[in-house]
C-alpha cells in the first residue's frame, strides 16, 4: 500500500547532536534523574538517602556546569526539535538559576528530612523532577512544551507538598494545590488552544510573526490572552488568583515551601515572558493592561494581608504575592531594561527568600515545623549568626540598601517609570513602606532579650546554604553589575539587544 504521506524522515547524527546540545542541561539532569531512580532501587535501605542526595547534587552541578559552559562557549541559541525547544541565553539563565536552586534545596532538606523521619530518596527525586520541569519551561519555544514543562513541575510539586503522609495539613496542602493547579492548567490550556486557533501554529516565534497588531480585533486572540493570563497569574501566585498560596505554603514541608516559593515563581515568570513578550509582542497593550491590573492587586493584597499573619510561612507566602506584583512591573515595562530587571530580581530573590525560609527550616523539630513568631524568640542568643543572617534576609526583602532587594526594586521601578507606568511604581513604593512593617516585625522576637537558651543546631550543608544566601544577598547588591549584565544577556533573545 502506498504511503499516504511523503515526509522527510531523515534525522542525521549531526542534527541530533545539535538538538541535544541545545537542551544539554535538561538532558543531563534527566539522565541523573533516571540514574537516581536506579540507585534508589538498587541500594540497601540505610544507604539510599545519602546516595540519592549525592546523585541529585551531582546532577544539579553537572546541569549548572553544562549551562554555564554553553553560555560562555556556545554558539548561541537555535531552535531545536522542530522549534519546540531552544538553548538561547534566556533558557540558559533560567537553567543556571534552577540548578542553583536545586543544589540549595538538597543541601537544606538533607538534615530536615532525616529529622522528621521522611523518606529521603523520593524527596530528592521529586525535587529533581520539578527542576527538570522548570528547565523545560525556561527553554520552551512552543506552547506545547510550555504546557508540558508546567505540568511536569506542578505534578512533582503536588506530590512533594503532600510528602508528610502523617500530617493532615500536608495532605490538605497537596489536595488544594492539585485542585487549584489543575484548574489553572486548564485555563492555560484553553487559552493556548484559542491562540493556536488564531495563529495556526504552536511555535512561539512563529506566532509572533503571524499575529500583528490587527489581531487585537480577533476575539479568539483576546480571549486566549485573558485565559492564559489568568492561568499564569494562578501559577505565579498573583492576586486575585493567589488564594491557594498561604494554605499550600503553610501545609507543605518547609524545604518544599522554600523551593516552591522561588522555583515556581521563576518558572512561571519565564513562561509569561516567553509567551507574552516573546510570542505576542504586537498585542502588548492587551496583555500589559491585564498584567497591570494583576500587579496592582497583588501588591495591595499581598502586603496588606501579610500584616495580620502570625505564622511565618503564611507571612512569607503573602510577601511572595506582593513580590510577584513588583516583578510584574518589570514584565509590563518590557524591553531590555524591564526584562533584565526581571531576571536580576528573580536571581537575587532566590537567595534572599530561600535564605529566610532556610532559617525557619532549621528551627523545625521532629514533630513538625515551628513557624510561630515565638519560635524565633531569643535567636540572637541561641544562634547569633542565624540572627544576623535573618536580619539580612528580612531587610533585603524589605528593600533596604545596599542589599539585593533594594537594587532589584530600583531596576524594576526605573524600567517601570521609563515605560510610562509611574502610577504603578508609586503604588509599589507606597506598598513597600507597608511591607517594611511586617518584615521588621519578624526581627523583633529575634533580637529581644529572652530567657531561651536552647541551641538551634544546623548541619554543615544547612550552614553552607545560609552563609551563601546571606553573603550573596549583600554582595550582589553592593556590586549588582555582574548579575544585571547576565540578566541583560539573558533578556536579549526576547527583547532584542
Amino acid at each position: 500500500m502506498s504511503p499516504l504521506l511523503t515526509v522527510d524522515l531523515t534525522y542525521t547524527w549531526s542534527q541530533a547532536l545539535a538538538d541535544l546540545s541545545q537542551i544539554a542541561a535538561v538532558a543531563t539532569l534527566t539522565g541523573f534523574f533516571l540514574f537516581a531512580i536506579v540507585v534508589d532501587l538498587v541500594l540497601p535501605k540505610h544507604r539510599r538517602g545519602g546516595a540519592v542526595a549525592m546523585t541529585a547534587v551531582t546532577g544539579f552541578a553537572f546541569a549548572l556546569a553544562t549551562a554555564a559552559y554553553r553560555w560562555v562557549y556556545g554558539q548561541g541559541g537555535a531552535s531545536a526539535y522542530h522549534g519546540f525547544a531552544t538553548g538561547d541565553n534566556f533558557a540558559l539563565f533560567f537553567e543556571i538559576l534552577f540548578a542553583t536552586l536545586g543544589i540549595l534545596t538538597v543541601a537544606l532538606s538533607h538534615s530536615y528530612v532525616r529529622k522528621r523521619g521522611l523518606l529521603e530518596s523520593e524527596f530528592h527525586i521529586l525535587i529533581m523532577a520539578a527542576v527538570i520541569g522548570m528547565m523545560v519551561l525556561g527553554s520552551a519555544t512552543s506552547l506545547v512544551t510550555v504546557f508540558l514543562g508546567l505540568e511536569l513541575l506542578s505534578i512533582a510539586l503536588y506530590i512533594a507538598c503532600g510528602f508528610v503522609r502523617t500530617e493532615s495539613r500536608s495532605q490538605e496542602a497537596a489536595a488544594k494545590y492539585l485542585l487549584v493547579g489543575g484548574f489553572a492548567s486548564a485555563f492555560v490550556l484553553y487559552g493556548m488552544a484559542l491562540i493556536y486557533g488564531g495563529a495556526g501554529t504552536t511555535v512561539i516565534p512563529e506566532i509572533a510573526k503571524r499575529l500583528d497588531a490587527t489581531s487585537s480585533g480577533n476575539p479568539l486572540i483576546i480571549l486566549g490572552i485573558v485565559l492564559m493570563g489568568v492561568g499564569f497569574a494562578f501559577k505565579v501566585s498573583a492576586a486575585p488568583f493567589h488564594m491557594w498560596t498561604p494554605d499550600v505554603y503553610q501545609g507543605a514541608p518547609l524545604p518544599v515551601t522554600a523551593f516552591m516559593s522561588v522555583g515556581t515563581k521563576a518558572a512561571a515568570f519565564a513562561m509569561i515572558v516567553r509567551v507574552f513578550s516573546g510570542g505576542l509582542p504586537h498585542l502588548a497593550p492587551e496583555w500589559q493592561a491585564l498584567l497591570a491590573f494583576v500587579a496592582a492587586t497583588s501588591m495591595v493584597v499581598g502586603n496588606l494581608m501579610a500584616i495580620a499573619q502570625t505564622s511565618l510561612k503564611r507571612l512569607l507566602a503573602y510577601s511572595g504575592v506582593a513580590q510577584a506584583g513588583y516583578i510584574l512591573i518589570g514584565v509590563i515595562a518590557g524591553g531590555q531594561s524591564g526584562l533584565s530587571a526581571v531576571l536580576y530580581y528573580l536571581f537575587v530573590y532566590m537567595f534572599m527568600n530561600f535564605g529566610a525560609f532556610a532559617v525557619i527550616t532549621l528551627l523545625a523539630g521532629p514533630e513538625g515545623d515551628r513557624d510561630r513568631f515565638s519560635d524565633l524568640e531569643g535567636l540572637a542568643r541561641r544562634n547569633p549568626v542565624m540572627a544576623v543572617l535573618m536580619s539580612v534576609f528580612m531587610l533585603s526583602l524589605a528593600g533596604f540598601p545596599p542589599s539585593v532587594g533594594f537594587f532589584g526594586k530600583l531596576f524594576l521601578f526605573t524600567a517601570g517609570v521609563s515605560a510610562g507606568y509611574t502610577w504603578l511604581v508609586v503604588l509599589a513604593v507606597i506598598m513597600s513602606v507597608v511591607s517594611v512593617f511586617y518584615y521588621v516585625r519578624v526581627l523583633v522576637p529575634v533580637w529581644t532579650a529572652s530567657a531561651r537558651t536552647d541551641r538551634v543546631p544546623a548541619s554543615i550543608s544547612s550552614q553552607g546554604v545560609l552563609w551563601l544566601s546571606g553573603v550573596a544577598s549583600v554582595a550582589l547588591g553592593v556590586y549588582p553589575t555582574t548579575v544585571l549584565l547576565l540578566g541583560q544577556l539573558g533578556a536579549n533573545p526576547i527583547s532584542g539587544p
Binding site: 531594561s337 533584565s340 531587610l395 528593600g399 533596604f400 540598601p401 545596599p402 533594594f406 537594587f407 526594586k409 530600583l410 531596576f411 521601578f413 526605573t414 517609570v417 521609563s418 509611574t422 511604581v425 508609586v426 513604593v429 507606597i430 513597600s432 513602606v433 517594611v436 512593617f437 521588621v440 523583633v444 533580637w447 556590586y479 549588582p480 553589575t481 544585571l484 549584565l485 541583560q488
Partner: protein
C-alpha cells in the same frame, strides 16, 4: 580615595568592634572615630575656597547599565557637615557610659550610623545618595529599639522608621523620575542641576523630595515622630541623631531640592510654601518647648524650632540666607549636643527629667550651672557665641526675600529665651527644692564638654573661618 576612607573606616571599624569583648569596644571606637576625624580635618585644611566644582572627587563606574557612578565629592556646603559628623561621633562615643549592656554592639552601631551619614554628605550621585540615606536608617533603628530608654522604645523606633521610610521611598520615585524625565538619563547631581524638566514635572518631583527631607529635618507638620524618638533615644545616640541626622534633611533641601528644581510651580509655588512652613516650625517648636516639663522633650522641641531657622535660610534663595543656614547647621549640632548632654547629666543626678520637680540645684552643682548658663546663652543667640551669626544671617537672607518671613521668624528669637531661661532658672536657681543631686559634674564630663564650649566661642567670634570656605560650590543652581 580620601573621601572613601572617611566613611569606610568607621564602617570597617564597626564590623570589627561588634565582635570584640566589650571592654575594648569604647576605646577602639574612639580611636576609629578620631582617625576619621583626622582625615576629615585634613580635607578641611587643604580645601580651596572659591573653587568651582567638587573637590577631592572620586568617580568610579558602578552600574553602567543605568549610568550610576560611585561618585563622592565635597564642596562648601558639605565640607563642614562632614567634619561635624566626624567630630560629633567622637564626642558621642566618648559620652557612652562603660556600663552599657552589649557595649560592643552599641559602639558598632554608632560607627555604622556615622559612616552612613558621612556617605550622605559626600555622595554626588543620586543613587549613591539614596543608598546612604536609607542605609543609615538600619543602625538608627536598632539603636533606638535595643538601647532605647523609656517604656516603649520599640514602638518609637518603628514609628520613626516607618515615617522616615514613607518619605524616602517616595523619594525613590523622585530619583527615578529625575533619571527618566530630564532627558539625559543620568544620576549625576552636577549634571542634573543644569537640566530642568517642565515646571509641572518639577512640582511633582520637588514634592516627593521635599516630603522626604521635611520628614527627616523635621519640618512642621511632619515632625510628630520626633518627640517619641528623642525621648526614647539614649543620650550618646542623640548626639549624632539630633546633631547630625536632622542636618541631613536640611542638607538634602540645599543640595537637591533647591538646585535641581528652580521652578517647582504646580498647584502652588513650593518656593513660597516651604519658607512659610519653616516659619511655622520656628514658632510652633518654640511654643511646644515652652509647654514642656520634661527637659529632654523641651530640648527636642527647641531643636524643631532651630531647624526651622535653617530651612528658612535655605529657601531665602540668596547667599546670606544659605550660608547662614549652613553655619547654623554646624552651630546647632554643637549646641544641641551640649544641651542634651547637660540635661542627661542633670536628670541622672536628680533622678527625674521633670524640670518642675527640682529647683536651686546650682547650690550643689556650681560648675554644672556655670557650663549650663554658657550653653543656654549660646542657644539663645547671644552675640559672641556661635548661634548669633547663623541666626542673624538667615534672618537677613529671609528679609531680603520677604520681610514678613523675617518678622515672623524673629518671633522665634523672642520665644527662645522664654523656654531656655525658664529651664535654667527653674532648675538651677532659687531656693533648693526637690531631689538633691549626688555630685557635681565629673572631670571627665567637663573635659568632654570643653571642646564643644570652646567651639561655641571660636565660631561665635570668627564665623568667617567657616563661611569663607562656603564660597566653593560644586554645582550650579545655588545662590553664590
Amino acid at each position: 580615595m580620601t573621601l572613601t576612607v572617611i566613611w569606610l573606616l568607621p564602617l570597617v571599624g564597626s564590623g570589627l568592634i561588634a565582635f570584640i569583648p566589650p571592654r575594648f569596644a569604647k576605646w577602639l571606637g574612639v580611636v576609629v572615630a578620631l582617625a576619621a576625624l583626622a582625615v576629615a580635618a585634613g580635607v578641611a585644611f587643604s580645601f580651596e575656597p572659591g573653587y568651582r566644582g567638587y573637590q577631592y572627587s572620586e568617580a568610579v563606574p558602578w552600574i553602567p547599565q543605568l549610568r550610576v557612578f560611585y561618585r563622592l565629592g565635597v564642596d562648601g556646603i558639605s565640607l563642614w557637615l562632614v567634619v561635624l559628623n566626624a567630630f560629633l561621633t567622637v564626642v558621642a562615643i566618648l559620652a557612652t557610659p562603660i556600663a552599657t549592656r552589649h557595649l560592643n554592639r552599641f559602639v558598632a552601631l554608632m560607627l555604622a550610623m556615622s559612616a552612613g551619614l558621612a556617605g550622605v554628605f559626600m555622595a554626588t550621585d543620586l543613587v549613591l545618595f539614596y543608598v546612604f540615606w536609607e542605609a543609615m536608617l538600619i543602625p538608627a533603628y536598632f539603636l533606638l529599639w535595643i538601647f532605647g530608654e523609656g517604656d516603649r522604645p520599640a514602638r518609637a523606633a518603628l514609628k520613626f522608621v516607618l515615617y522616615t521610610l514613607a518619605g524616602s521611598l517616595l523619594m525613590l520615585v523622585g530619583v527615578i523620575g529625575e533619571y527618566v524625565f530630564t532627558g539625559k538619563q543620568t544620576f549625576d547631581l552636577a549634571t542634573l542641576a543644569t537640566l530642568a524638566p517642565s515646571p509641572s514635572i518639577q512640582f511633582g518631583l520637588f514634592s516627593v523630595f521635599a516630603l522626604a527631607f521635611a520628614i527627616k529635618t523635621p519640618l512642621f507638620p511632619f515632625h510628630s515622630w520626633l518627640p517619641d524618638a528623642y525621648a526614647a533615644a539614649p543620650t550618646p545616640m542623640l548626639i549624632t541623631f539630633a546633631g547630625v541626622m536632622g542636618k541631613a534633611g536640611a542638607y538634602g533641601f540645599l543640595r537637591i531640592a533647591v538646585p535641581l528644581f528652580p521652578e517647582p510651580v504646580g498647584w502652588w509655588d513650593w518656593r513660597w510654601v516651604v519658607p512659610v512652613l519653616a516659619v511655622a516650625a520656628i514658632i510652633w517648636g518654640a511654643l511646644m518647648a515652652i509647654a514642656q516639663r520634661d527637659m529632654k522633650l523641651l530640648v527636642a522641641y527647641s531643636s524643631v524650632s532651630h531647624m526651622g531657622f535653617i530651612v528658612l535660610g535655605i529657601f531665602s534663595y540668596n547667599v546670606q540666607g544659605q550660608q547662614g543656614a549652613i553655619l547654623q547647621m554646624v552651630n546647632h549640632g554643637i549646641i544641641i549636643s551640649a544641651l542634651f548632654l547637660i540635661v542627661a547629666w542633670i536628670s541622672d543626678r536628680a533622678g527625674t527629667r521633670d524640670r518642675s520637680a527640682m529647683a536651686g540645684l546650682a547650690a550643689r552643682m556650681p560648675v554644672m550651672a556655670g557650663v549650663f548658663i554658657v550653653v543656654t546663652l549660646a542657644a539663645l543667640g547671644l552675640p559672641g557665641l556661635n548661634s548669633f551669626a547663623g541666626e542673624f544671617m538667615t534672618l537677613l537672607g529671609a528679609w531680603q526675600r520677604a520681610p514678613a518671613l523675617a518678622l515672623f521668624g524673629a518671633i522665634g528669637l523672642v520665644l527662645a529665651p522664654v523656654y531656655m531661661l525658664r529651664l535654667f532658672q527653674g532648675v538651677m536657681q532659687g531656693p533648693p527644692a526637690g531631689p538633691v543631686p549626688r555630685s557635681d559634674i565629673y572631670i571627665g564630663q567637663l573635659l568632654l564638654l570643653a571642646p564643644l564650649v570652646i567651639l561655641m566661642f571660636v565660631i561665635g567670634l570668627d564665623p568667617n573661618a567657616l563661611t569663607s570656605l562656603m564660597t566653593s560650590l560644586g554645582q550650579a543652581g545655588l545662590a553664590r
